[in-house]
Amino acid sequence: MTRSFVKFAAVLMAGTMLAGVAEARSLKWARSGDSLTLDPHAQNEGPTSTLAHQIYEPLVTRKVDGGLEPTLATSWRILPDDPTVWEFKLRQGVKFHNGNPFNADDVVFSVERVMSPTSDFKGLWASVESVKKVDDYTVHIKTKGPNPILIQNMTNTFMMDKEWTTANKAEKVQDFKNKEENFAVRNANGTGAFQLVSREPDVRTVLRRNDAYWGKGKVPLEVSEIVYTPVKADATRIAAMLSGEVDFVQDVPVQDIQRLKSQSGVKVNEGPENRTIFLGMDVGSAELKSSDQKGKNPFADKQVRQAMSMAINRDAIQRVVMRGQSRPTGTIAPPFIDGFTPEMGKPPAYDVAKAKAMLAAAGYPNGFSVTLNCPNDRYLNDEGICQAVVGMLGQIGIKINLVAQSKSIHFPLIQKNPPETQFYLLGWGVPPFDSDYIFTFLYHTREGARGGWNAIGLSDKALDAKIQSLASETDLAKRKATVADIWAKLQDETYYIPLHDQLLAYAMKPEINIPVHPDNTVWIKNVSFK
């Protein structure tokens, strides 16, 4: 009896020790929100793409320094005899997690899928006419006109296995905003360094190392298992980091950065994100439904929008709500991108008296009421920012009813057609590092492949024409001039009220090092234990 107990205990201890060894290579990753879907073409949203980057891969990847790195494509060029055709040479010997080989058929399939109507990435591919397989490892992508920057748009276009996707009837991209589901939403089959073990949305996602990964030897690939856990409550997430329960927290709440920095056993990496936080207002509708102003839309008036922008004390938000972790800005373009100028980035002067006077001049001396929709688990202190905005706009008489919800409810309000919000907070990251991406998604009329996140009802044909011309402009000087011209008009119109660019902080165990990428993307395959 006693002896068998001792044996049992010994086995148990040995088991724990073995588990301990394996445990050391597992990485527990916490973030405030979950990936919205595993379908890699359904949601163009940061955390969703970040998780997808562990499982799936694009043809080219954005490096931390902003440059491009060959991934599933080894080389690319614009055909010398036809400037409208991009040629991609594909990496050979790559296999999907199910063992299927990766080849040109998969690329043609994935690109066509990403260009389909329910895809959320179609705006990035709006200039593309067709995609063609030349041989098993060569693909030609034909654009409607010459598009020298197409490659910049491809860093979040993930390659799926044609055979697996069709066999599971997931050819149609999940229509996320209408709550559709397909096989690819909860299952995954990519070429990436990690493959899916289990997925419980909003609870936990477990990935395990893909031992047949093509990049073995090129990257450390030391993590054998990723446990990704969304932890919405700030204090709980940080408590988990401090107690060693998690190894990596991707979004350290601004109030905890100083504390974590002074803590031994935790390393904090900081860096600016290529993303601007702003407010969107419905400028196109005839009436503001949530307002006491019946039959009128105050947001349609430029003076009102400018007054609102002027009434926001961005420095106070930076100092108090963000505790310094933001850079107030006067444009929704982050400084990383092509087309940004320091003049654009200068926020409008904070002047409540002038804002009040402008609002009165526009015919709203007593202000108006409106509902503001806000996410509460997406951006740094998003709900706190909204509360501050409510207070500041309250001082010029705009009475705001604040509705703060999870991003999985908030984003569909913006994406639905017609949108179900007329005043909302959004943050827009710019993975292609180019102004065209902002114009196409946020300012172009919502039609066809473009305007997917334009929930402000803006429809300006002259502006649309200019935006479309960018995709096929080969003269870079001329393109630059058009971009500047578009920004000049947009800045004056204040269709969106820019607030600030986020500064990110990651917390991790000291033995690992995960640099802050401007896209806020991480690649766990690059993590090595010291």
Partner: protein, 314 residues
């Protein structure tokens, strides 16, 4: 003219009250004196919050963001006013938030206690008076209710309400949803107690007499039985009040309670908890102390009331 005799009558009653066992027991219980003093002070402070506080923390337009995170007893950068208990990250004065928060907490506590007492007493009297199937049915429902933790019932009601009520109205009715949720969670105790007393009372001669002279059941229950079973209800209600306040705080702490725009003490503690690691202790500590003081003093008062009204202990 007619006021004078009324005054005499009132003062005579008051004199009788001062002379009673009840008051004697109060005078001799320092705990009861301190607890009742605290309770009354807190209730009055909550009631007159708008006159006692420098700002209305419910009105975002009165907040100055530059005052955010001001330490206790320091002047805010925005308004240059001294914040006795500091300010939170939105520039909300913690002292004002406390009084307004306890206002919400007390309102929810009182309203839900009255609601659950009404529901429980009605069902209890009905069960006890009619007996038979009515009794069996009501008591089985009570058993089911008692086998659920109250907080779970409240969460359930809250979840259903959130699903049924359209989002744009949710904020406006949140307070009432809370009252109903807590009321539905806590009525069973009243029903049980009142049923037992009613069973005893209805055997008594005065009830039989009332029945014989032809009064119908409703007035008998309301006019004759009810006053005689009310004693224990007050004791349960006092203890339940403290419980309801704590349950409300728990729900709000879990984020299933009152919204940001009308914070109760529980909501304030939830906000404060977010700053737990960053050194801004005052955002969490003061609302927590307030909640403890409030619940403790009401509880002590309830304990004393139970002892004072219990003939067996005397």
């Amino acid at each position: 003219m007619s006021q004078a005799p009324a005054m005499t009558r009132i003062s005579a009653r008051f004199a009788r009250f001062l002379d009673s066992d009840f008051f004697f027991s109060y005078r001799n219980s320092p705990v009861a004196i301190v607890a009742s003093f605290l309770t009354v002070t807190l209730i009055l402070a909550a009631l007159f919050a708008p006159f006692l506080t420098p700002q209305n923390p419910f009105n975002p337009a009165e907040l100055n963001l530059m005052d955010g995170l001001t330490h206790p007893m320091q002047a805010g950068l925005g308004s240059n006013r001294v914040f006795w208990l500091g300010a939170d990250e939105q520039g909300r004065d913690v002292f004002s938030a406390l009084l307004y928060g306890s206002r919400v907490s007390l309102f929810v506590g009182f309203a839900s206690t009255i609601f659950s007492a009404f529901l429980g007493v009605t069902l209890g009297v009905l069960a006890g008076y009619f007996g038979g199937r009515t009794d069996a049915l009501i008591m089985r429902v009570t058993d089911v209710q008692l086998s659920f933790p109250a907080i779970l019932v409240a969460l359930l009601v809250f979840g259903v309400a959130r699903g049924v009520i359209p989002p744009e109205f949710q904020e406006r009715v949140a307070l009432w949803v809370m009252v109903v949720a807590l009321g539905l969670a806590n009525w069973a105790q009243y029903a049980r107690t009142v049923r037992a007393s009613t069973l005893v009372e209805r055997q008594k001669d005065y009830v039989s007499a009332a029945r014989i002279i032809g009064r119908s059941p409703a007035p008998i229950m309301a006019r004759h039985v009810l006053p005689n079973v009310a004693g224990p209800v007050f004791v349960i209600a006092t203890i339940n009040l403290a419980l309801a306040i704590l349950e409300e705080a728990t729900l709000s702490f879990l984020g299933a309670g009152l919204p940001v725009t009308q914070p109760s003490l529980g909501t304030l503690i939830r906000f404060g908890q977010q700053q737990l690691f960053s050194g801004e202790w005052w955002i969490l500590v003061f609302p927590a102390l307030m909640l403890i003081t409030l619940a403790l003093s009401i509880n002590l008062l309830g304990d004393w009331l139970r002892d004072a009204l219990d003939p067996k202990i005397k």
